[in-house]
């Protein structure tokens, strides 16, 4: 066995706790998960069946850790050792064709969390250094600049200044004692900087004190996407350190899917202690401020709109009703697509897939499923996409399939439809 394979196998086994073992033991190979996976739906290739993607872990588990593995081993009834060749052969299934969207769990009669298990398989791959080039490049950028797109504090400041000019509102940077510290994703800073202005308008109206830290403004956690626990932990720690330094009461997770789960649900477990602040998603915060009457809704947008549910925010994050309440207030013709909410289709580019150029064709094919879902409604003029990563996938996909559907962020929509003071 090579050192690479050994590292991968040992990490896979270390990741296999009661939950993962329960999943591996309960799978009856019914294949229903395939019917939920956009990569299978768009290709009809059985190799994209979600449970099949777990094969290296299943083999290692049966050989080394499953109950009765010793007895079965003596009888020659355990699988062969996982080889480095096999691991490399499986790598595209682990990284290119799984967005960790978790739709397969919804259909699985055993309730198996395949997405979460893929995340653990990626730990084995990352530890062994078997990671796609695109994600390796993102990792290198993070290690160099703190941002997967290389967004520096200087570049962020330029965008902040621009938004201050646009809105006429002062945006505080590194303000100690603010109630809220806002995080952003690189994608937002470079592609959709108007979200910074939207925050300024909303929080100014609500009378919140908020700030952006120049030490930790990046919400994107490449460690979670790659499956590198140590990297993910380091990125969470950076945010925690900045929030503690500024003594903020809350940290706002932006319109970015995995960033919310990484900080809100996995973060305390990664650094081994609870945070002295609360993590709140921007959608949660807007919903609460709306309920409290601090950001009253004004004239609604009259366009026919639908909502794309980012998987990590809705299906795996638990924010199901909040975006809908905000949309009901902001849009006079809000329509849902089939399977809206927990069964909604992924954009095709989550879980690091959009950062992996090798997976582009697969991603665009998967996105077509999403587009078909929207087209089935008929007459939709705009789609609200409260995740910067999904938003770029939408824009690439709409361009590829020559659709003139408009893509907008939820924060911007809420800010644009605020009641005039």
């Amino acid at each position: 066995m090579t050192e690479t394979a050994n590292t991968a196998i040992q990490t896979l086994l270390a990741q296999t706790d009661t939950d993962v073992a329960s999943y591996l033991e309960a799978c009856v190979h019914c294949g229903e998960c395939a019917e939920a996976c956009h990569f299978f739906l768009s290709t009809k290739d059985p190799k994209y069946t979600p449970t099949y993607k777990l094969a290296p872990l299943v083999k290692a588990y049966k050989r080394h850790k499953a109950p009765f593995h010793t007895l079965k081993g003596m009888l020659g009834l355990v699988p062969d050792e996982v080889t480095e060749e096999e691991l490399r052969e499986w790598e595209p299934l682990i990284y290119d064709s799984c967005t960790m969207c978790g739709r397969c769990t919804v259909v699985c009669p055993m309730g198996i969390d395949i997405a979460g298990t893929i995340r653990k398989v990626r730990e084995g791959y990352a530890a062994a250094g078997i990671v796609p080039e695109g994600l390796q490049a993102a990792r290198a950028q993070v290690e160099k600049t703190g941002s997967p797109m290389g967004v520096t504090a200087k570049a962020l400041m330029a965008q902040i200044k621009h938004q201050e000019k646009e809105t006429g509102i002062k945006i505080e940077v590194d303000k100690k004692g603010a109630d809220y510290m806002a995080l952003l994703s690189s994608m937002e800073v470079m592609g959709y900087p108007e979200i910074i202005g939207a925050y300024a308008r909303l929080f100014d109206r609500a009378g919140l004190t908020w700030t952006i830290s120049l030490d930790a403004y990046e919400a994107t956690n490449v460690g979670v996407q790659i499956g590198s626990g140590p990297l993910a932990k380091g990125l969470v720690q950076k945010i925690v350190d900045a929030a503690e330094k500024l003594e903020v009461k809350n940290v706002i997770s932006p319109e970015c899917g995995h960033a919310y789960g990484a900080l809100r649900w996995a973060g305390p477990n990664m650094i081994g202690r609870q945070f002295p602040f609360e993590v709140v998603h921007i959608i949660e915060l807007m919903d609460q401020l709306r309920k409290d009457g601090r950001i009253p809704a004004g004239e609604k947008d009259g366009r026919k709109m639908t909502l794309h549910d980012p998987c990590q925010i809705v299906r795996r994050g638990g924010l199901l009703d909040e975006p809908r309440r905000l949309l009901d207030d902001s849009c006079s013709d809000f329509v849902e697509m089939e399977g809206a909410g927990v069964a909604n289709l992924c954009c095709g580019g989550g879980g690091g897939v959009s950062a992996n150029p090798r997976a582009e064709e697969l991603m665009l094919n998967a996105f077509k499923c999403k587009l078909d879902q929207i087209d089935e409604i008929g007459g939709v003029e705009a789609v609200v996409v409260p995740c910067a990563n999904c938003r770029t996938v939408f824009e690439d996909g709409l361009d590829e399939f020559e659709s003139d559907l408009e893509v907008i962020g939820l924060g911007e929509l809420v800010a644009d439809t605020l009641k005039e003071a």
């Binding site: 009661t18 329960s22 019914c30 499953a66 109950p67 259909v107 055993m110 969390d113 795996r316 069964a343």
Partner: protein, 214 residues
């Protein structure tokens, strides 16, 4: 000792004991792997999520049921039919009363047994045919899946043959297959009859902490 007495007596008790100990060993083995305590502040109850997750996945979602209707029908037909036959066929209740529990319960009428058995057979056949006819299932199925299906099929088939209780040899063959099925169960994927509780529960608990349950 006749062959029937052997498979209904000592062999049944041996295979039943191995079934019980093996199943417990496997479940405890899974649970003993442990999991780190989740210290993120919860929004809801993990315990409630565990139970809700277990119940939720009994019911297919309309969106997917459309795509997987054959599997849903086959799966429900087989499992419900088998459950009814296993625990409510009159000869089984008599057997449980005399050999295990010392008490009985009301049995299905003969026509009810026949309907339940036919539904179970139809469901099992649909599931097994899908295993080799559907490209996805063909790719992911392994030897264990086929052995489990065949053994269960043989248990059901020999059970129907023995139903008249007219020939000891037919009853002995049925009981012999049951003994093999019991021996195979804890080492195979048939254990999903128990492990599904842990699997659904783990996901349900995780979602429950997040204040939701898909």
């Amino acid at each position: 000792m006749s062959f029937l007495e052997l498979v209904e007596g000592p062999l049944f008790y041996i295979s039943g004991t191995i079934f019980l100990i093996g199943a417990l060993w496997r479940l405890i083995g899974i649970i003993r792997m442990g999991r780190k305590k989740d210290i993120s502040p919860p929004k809801g109850s993990a315990v409630a999520g565990f139970f809700k997750g277990n119940l939720r996945h009994f019911f297919p979602r309309g969106l997917f049921a459309e795509r997987t209707w054959m599997h849903v029908l086959g799966g429900y037909g087989f499992h419900l039919g088998l459950f009814a036959v296993m625990f409510f066929a009159a000869p089984h209740i008599t057997f449980f009363q005399e050999r295990i529990f010392g008490f009985g319960w009301p049995a299905l009428p003969r026509w009810g047994f026949i309907i339940a058995a036919e539904i179970a057979f139809a469901g099992l056949i649909v599931l097994w045919v899908r295993r080799f006819s559907d490209p996805v299932m063909r790719m992911i199925s392994d030897r264990d899946d086929h052995i489990g299906s065949w053994l269960t099929f043989l248990v059901m088939l020999t059970g129907c043959l023995a139903m008249q209780e007219a020939h000891d040899i037919l009853r002995a063959i049925h009981m012999g297959i049951v003994d093999i099925w019991l021996l195979y169960f804890p080492f195979s994927r048939l254990m999903h009859a128990f492990t599904f509780v842990l699997s659904r529960g783990a996901t349900g608990a995780s979602y429950g902490r997040k204040g939701m349950n898909p």
